[in-house]
Amino acid sequence: MTDTFGTPSRRGFLGLALGAGAFGLAGAGKAAPRQVKTNANILILGAGAAGAALANRLIERLDGAAITLVDGRREHWYQPGFSLIAAGLKPARYSVSQTTDWLPSDVTLKQDWAANIDPEARKVALAGGEVLSYDYLIVATGLSLDHDAIEGFSLDMVGQDGIGALYAGPDYAAKTWQAASKFTENGGVGLFTRPATEMKCAGAPLKHTFLIDDLARKAGSRGKMDVHYMANNNSLFGVPIVSEKVRMLFGDRGITPDYSHVLTGIDAGSKRARFDTPEGSVERDYDYIHIIPPQRAPDVVRQSGLSWADKWVGEGWMEVDKASLRHLRYPEVFALGDVAGVPKGKTAASVKWQVPVVEEHLVAQIAGDTTDAAYNGYTSCPLITQVGRAMLVEFNYNNNLTPSFPGIIAPLEELWISWLMKEVALKATYNAMLRGKA
């Protein structure tokens, strides 16, 4: 070394740069929580957002645990993308990947559906006949869309005769755009519905309404359209302050809210829809209708005895503590995601907050310890109000707004930055969550 400190030179500079780089890399590492040694047998039903994220995190925390996931679907669906697909902004493949893309190599994936859960015997039977026993069970099955509950409707109608149903999957979301795009060209009466049950992402029916309104506006055909939002009760969103804001935006956009109109059936031939209202059944003509069916826990959960008996009767959500997500009668059973019987939290953003809580409780339980990790009902909804703008609405169990960037990103303002986050960062954050890194 001929270089001396204090005299800038090419070689000295290079050494400095490399040293800084090495220091930066060393500094980026975070001390990992200590691993717990165990031979526990952990069974996760569902390898969707919640199941995959938890599996990736447990692998890091537990040394020696046998982790098995059960999911009959090979495809992983990025459900927050469905609203964009149904507005023609993304292709169906935007939301589709393979379940195996997201799972760590040292877990077992059973590509089958759970057919029976016996929480007394701690056994789960699969549709194919195999029976799995467990020490700890995490139910992350998601929910079932009860399309049969809408009389006269079946999924093969989606995309034709002015019928959309974006919740049913990426392909149905794309078909929804086929029907919706004709509506934006030809105009007529549009009815945008939502069910009276608990549902995943209560913002999605609003987003679809706003997006179709905006696309028609930009195509110059909005004047030919009569747009109605069919609310299930006398509000437009579960959080009162957000509901009021949406009411004002609807006023601004010329979208008519029809309160307490719950879709019960359609006649696709004559394009008429039936709604339950406080005044009885009413029929309405439509040129485009967006159908979101009632939503319930999957049959296997409803038949397992794990559901609430006295809350959400007929919907079957799991009877868990709303802070720890631990089952109230079976302490080795947890619920994650849509299937959990908690007042809020049927979104991917909720899953992101729920997964670390269940992880902490499970790891503490295995280690013979306790934890005060708690889920506060956090839910986030980038409520798109036009192509290019959204409101970043975040709230908790108490219907309080919980903005991530208070004073910087206003939750009830239509902002470009909120749209940028949805467009650029949301799927990336979701993917990082699946890998257990966010």
Partner: protein, 118 residues
């Protein structure tokens, strides 16, 4: 957002661009910055002639950065909805301008060294 740590941020950026492209871009930015510092140290002076060209390139960098972001996100100037949006827009433009200036200055210094100078 929960636990917005540096490692989370890195993980998110890896997902946005793909791991390879993200680190290639970080590496490219570091290289250009390092080369810029290198020519400053080598020449032991700022060349105001080169700096003039660098400054003249700044508006183009600013406009290119804004159009790039808008193009990638299907949005436009009409979507600016509040003060934070204007700040983000200006930040994107400023980033593009400074990046372009550094790039132009560095390229000039490395490849168009006039005889006798430095």
């Amino acid at each position: 957002m929960q636990d917005l740590t540096f490692t989370t941020l890195i993980a998110v950026f890896e997902e946005i661009f793909g791991r390879g492209l993200f680190w290639a871009m970080v590496f490219a930015a570091l290289i250009v910055t390092a080369l810029y510092l290198f020519v400053l140290i080598r020449d032991r002076a700022v060349s105001w002639k080169k700096f003039l060209w660098a400054q003249l390139s700044m508006p183009f960098g600013a406009i290119a950065a804004v159009l790039f972001v808008q193009g990638m996100t299907r949005s436009g100037f009409a979507d600016i909805g509040g003060p934070i949006d204007a700040i983000v827009l200006l930040a994107v433009a400023a980033g593009g301008a400074v990046g372009m200036a550094i790039l132009v200055y560095t390229i000039e210094s490395l490849f168009w060294r006039q005889g006798g100078e430095g």
